[in-house]
Amino acid sequence: MGKYIFKRVISGLVTIVILITCCFFLMHAVPGSPFSKGEQGVPPEVMQRLNEKYGLDLPLHEQYIRYMSNILHGDLGISYKNTTVQVNDLVGRGFPVSARIGALAVVVSLLIGVALGIVSAVKRGSLFDGIAMVTATIGVCVPLFVISVLLLYLFAGVLKWLPTYGLSTWRHYILPVTCLSFSPIAYIARMTRSSMLEVMQQDYIRTARAKGVSEFFVICKHGLRNAILPVVTYLGTLIANLLTGSFIVERLFAIPGLGKYFVDSITARDYNIIMGVTIFLGIFVVTCNLIVDVAYGIIDPRVKMDE
């Protein structure tokens, strides 16, 4: 177990170092200095001073070492468009907001998705199963932005039941969280259903029934505990999907989260922010994947730790 975790941590660290390196060289492949863009008429002396101040006159490898050591010290740099803005502040302000919505979406998708999957599997072939699976197919196929726009139009535009932007009351959370969890619910429901159907045919389920265990306990204790395993592996993907999904939802609902800042800085071509936020998101995703993998190893003893 220890060796397995150690291997996973090392591979996670390598991933992050490569990501930072790629980011650094990609952003330096963009032609021109960060200060020459959009700021015409900057006198050459001022340019010189700016480049010196931010170390942009150094050779590339020295800049790289400097950037790396800054990140190791937890400093993601500053915005070159507006030098009073620090990437760390941006992450500090935006991430808690995004994380709150994301965590809610994870909980909602897991609860509803697993519940739908179980009921569909138990009542296989019923009307409920049919409706749930058609809805799940829609959820899997239709892009997030289509669902978000439709829900926004219906509940905020036509019916006017829910607010359209901001995050001041609990009612503001309903639409963004629903949009984000729509397709995860569909995935989880389909996954739970098919693995539940498989598990319920196993011998130990028959044994449990033969012993006279109530149907509720058979489903929840003996069935679900085994059927839930594939859902755990999906969690890593889910977090990555919610992260990219937040770009769309936060923009559409004007939520001041990290996703919105990221998209804004892409539109403004603020390379240092793009780089800093990408690295932060990369570290976040890699850490989440690591936790999911280790958790899976603990839950399912059949997983070979040395692989």
């Binding site: 591979s11 996670g12 390598v14 991933t15 490569i18 990501l19 790629c22 980011c23 990609l26 952003m27 492949a29 963009v30 197919t137 829609i138 899997v140 196929c141 239709v142 892009p143 997030l144 932005f145 289509v146 726009v149 439709l150 926004l152 139009y153 535009g157 036509v158 098919s194 159907l197 990555a240 999907n241 992260l243 990219t244 770009f247 769309i248 923009r251 559409l252 998209v263 892409i266 539109t267 071509r269 390379y271 793009i274 990408t278 998101l281 990369g282 995703v285 890699v286 994947n289």
Partner: protein, 304 residues
């Protein structure tokens, strides 16, 4: 003396043919096509995609408007006989813009899937065939790439390459071949110890010949399924980027950018949003149905 033992009775001649093979033998691909034909949803998807493709190719030629023809006397109009899907804020005909969007989306989907197939199949094939340290290094690289959402790479590459259709394509092609590579590798690893691969080697075929002529054709089923699902995911990625305003640039239009343009007028002119998202939803549905049908047809073991 009469033979009363009916064990020696003459056999009915029709019974003799019971051992003969009465139907022509069916190849893997014929069998797959037979299974695919039975899947109604997949056939429906195929027909829809064919119609969308026909409209995308010939529709703009038959339409009196161009995709950037502005008409300031008819802005934000609802659908009518003159403008089937209405007009946008600059008075451009939405029908022709949605058709141009179909051209962009479909061509991005097809080109990205084709390029990804070539890269992924070769990469996975080489890793699986040579095994050992080659495999180990190549697959660790894949692990690193797969650890992060591919949209992040796509965005980074778009920043460097600029915002146009070519750079979207390049970015998509560079970032989404890993799934195909993994599937090809696992197929090749199981196939390379088969007798026919050994026979090929004994007959003096080079490694490359064995890989390309013997192993890959036999691994084609699962590869095609994974590539088929790349088409909707490439279309989705393009729409995602354009919807955020970092994909296709004006005055070009794709379904994502049309939807993006329609956000501010969602309540006053909902038709501007409706047509592009209906088009993309229909296409995504159809492509996913085709993919599901292909998976059931080509890989019967996977069917649940």
């Amino acid at each position: 003396m009469q033979n009363t033992d009916n064990r020696y009775a003459r056999l009915d001649p029709s019974a003799l043919s019971a051992d003969e093979i009465s139907r022509p033998s069916v190849s893997y691909w014929q069998d797959a096509w037979r299974r695919f034909k039975r899947d109604k949803l997949a056939i429906f998807g195929l027909i829809v995609i064919a119609i969308v493709a026909l409209f995308a190719i010939f529709g703009p030629m038959l339409c009196p408007y161009g995709y950037e023809d502005a008409d300031f006397f008819h802005v934000n109009e609802a659908p009518s006989a003159a403008h089937w899907f209405g007009t946008d804020a600059l008075g451009r005909d939405l029908y022709v813009r949605v058709l141009y969007g179909a051209r962009i989306s479909l061509s991005i989907g097809i080109v990205a899937a084709a390029v990804n197939m070539v890269i992924g199949v070769l990469y996975g094939g080489i890793a699986g065939y040579f095994g050992g340290i080659v495999d180990n290094v190549m697959m660790r690289i894949v692990d690193i790439l797969i650890a992060l959402p591919s949209l992040l790479y796509t965005i980074l590459l778009m920043m460097v390459l600029g915002r146009n259709i070519q750079s979207i394509l390049i970015a998509l092609c560079l970032s989404s071949w890993v799934g195909t590579a993994r599937i090809t590798r696992s197929q090749v690893v199981t196939l390379k110890h088969q007798e026919y691969a050994l026979a090929g080697k004994l007959a003096g075929a080079s490694d490359f010949e064995i890989l390309v002529r013997h192993l890959l054709p036999n691994a084609m089923g699962p590869i095609i399924v994974s590539v088929m699902f790349l088409i909707p995911s490439a279309i989705f990625s393009e729409a995602f980027l354009s919807f955020l305003g970092i994909g296709i640039q004006k005055p070009m239009a794709s379904w994502g950018s049309l939807a993006n343009d329609a956000i501010p007028k969602l309540t006053s002119a909902p038709h501007q949003m409706f047509f592009p998202i209906a088009a993309i939803s229909l296409t995504m549905f159809s492509l996913n149905f085709i993919g599901d049908g292909l998976r059931d047809a080509l890989d019967p073991k996977l069917k649940k």
